[in-house]
């Protein structure tokens, strides 16, 4: 009898309160079962892991990537001293080199999620400069340079206990159906990942945070992860949350935790 109760207890605890570690493992097992041909490291390439032809074309463009001019501008902006002779580099650990994999993280003091973009603006505030508009070219170029120095670093999102409510909200946002089309993020990126939606392949949620900012051939410029979130919400005809809003930061935090262990390869090119 006591053995039975023990089983019931363990069952209920694993189904009701799944920890981030469980979530991540469950999702990886699900993809492994659905998409057995895709190795874990392939998820860093997004949809290009699914189609050999588009991957070949993509690798070709990568030989001389169109975002190079933006990257150069980002480097110059990053190195340019502020009016008080301080630099962006002074605000970040290891002078801002190879640190993009640590973002987003949970800030215990502020009790909020710090993303790379918000950290750049915090740095500007600290140096008495006006903040940059999120999604503006300048902040995207800066993020592109910082991502470029972090190429190959493995995503390393920590999950302290105090961050769990934010993680749970991010997860709820991911699975919540919304909008006129009544889609959740998971409808496309979990249930139908790797399948076609008209002519396009749906990317799996695993690896969504590896390759930002991304130069879209469609728009002809670099865009951030939050720009993409906004596009997704618009496409399912849902309320569009602003870039760097609490909702989208929590979603980024959740997705980033899922992608732990994947290498960063941004800035990148996407169709």
């Amino acid at each position: 009898m006591s053995f039975l109760i023990f089983i019931l207890l363990t069952l209920s605890s694993s189904t009701v309160h799944s920890t981030p570690v469980d979530d991540s493992q469950l999702l990886r097992d699900f993809y492994q079962q659905q998409l057995p041909l895709i190795a874990f490291s392939d998820y860093a390439d997004g949809v290009y892991a699914f189609d050999a032809d588009s991957k070949a074309a993509w690798l070709d463009i990568n030989q001389f990537p169109p975002y190079e001019f933006s990257l150069e501008k980002g480097k110059n902006l990053f190195k340019q001293p502020f009016a008080n002779k301080s630099h962006y580099a002074d605000c970040f650990p290891t002078n801002g080199i190879a640190i993009a994999q640590l973002y987003p993280y949970w800030d215990e003091e502020k009790q909020s999620i710090i993303t790379l973009a918000s950290a750049i603006n915090d740095c500007r505030l600290k140096n008495r400069l006006p903040t940059l508009t999120y999604e503006s070219d300048e902040i995207t170029y800066l993020m592109a340079y910082m991502a470029d120095t972090s190429r190959g670093q493995l995503i390393n999102t920590h999950m302290p206990n105090s961050a769990l409510p934010a993680y749970e909200r991010g997860k709820a946002y991911f699975y919540q159906r919304r909008g006129q089309l009544n889609f959740s993020c998971a409808s496309c990126h979990v249930d139908n990942a790797g399948k076609f939606i008209r002519s396009e392949i749906l990317s799996p949620a695993l690896g969504h945070t590896t390759h930002w900012p991304a130069y879209r051939l469609k728009t002809g410029k670099l865009g951030s992860l939050h720009t993409r979130f906004k596009v997704c919400n618009r496409l399912i005809r849902a309320k569009v949350h602003e870039a760097q809003s609490t909702e989208l930061r929590e979603l980024e935090f959740y997705l980033s935790y899922l992608s732990n262990g994947l290498p960063l390869n941004g800035p990148s090119i996407r169709k």
Binding site: F64, P66, E72, G220
Partner: protein, 106 residues
């Protein structure tokens, strides 16, 4: 065009040919786009002639219109080019701006 060049050139030497690739930073405005803030037409601004030179000898001249994409990319093969040869690429647009860049095959 100040101090930064708008042209990037990369070459790769193969025994029977040299692959030259170039990326040019240019808005390539067609004249049919409207500005988002003022709702007015953006004047056409595009590259009209693009010249490729090999050791100061013109090997190709492209006459382009506004149908070419923003930040255009070109790639071509030169059979005669050897290591150490000079490749020059220059452009001139409809508003009279221009830029040129030299590159040594390596």
């Amino acid at each position: 065009m100040a101090n930064r060049s708008t042209i990037k050139i990369r070459t790769k030497y193969f025994p029977d040919y040299t692959l030259v690739r170039t990326l040019i930073a240019h808005t390539m405005e067609t004249g049919r786009n409207t500005a988002q803030d003022t709702k007015e037409l953006i004047p056409a601004h595009f590259i009209q002639t693009l010249t490729f030179k090999h050791n100061d000898k013109v090997v190709s001249e492209c006459h382009m219109g506004f149908g070419i994409s923003k930040n255009p990319f070109f790639s071509f093969k030169i059979k005669q080019a050897k290591l150490g040869d000079k490749i020059t690429i220059s452009w001139k647009d409809n508003l009279g701006f221009s830029d040129t860049k030299d590159h040594i095959v390596q």
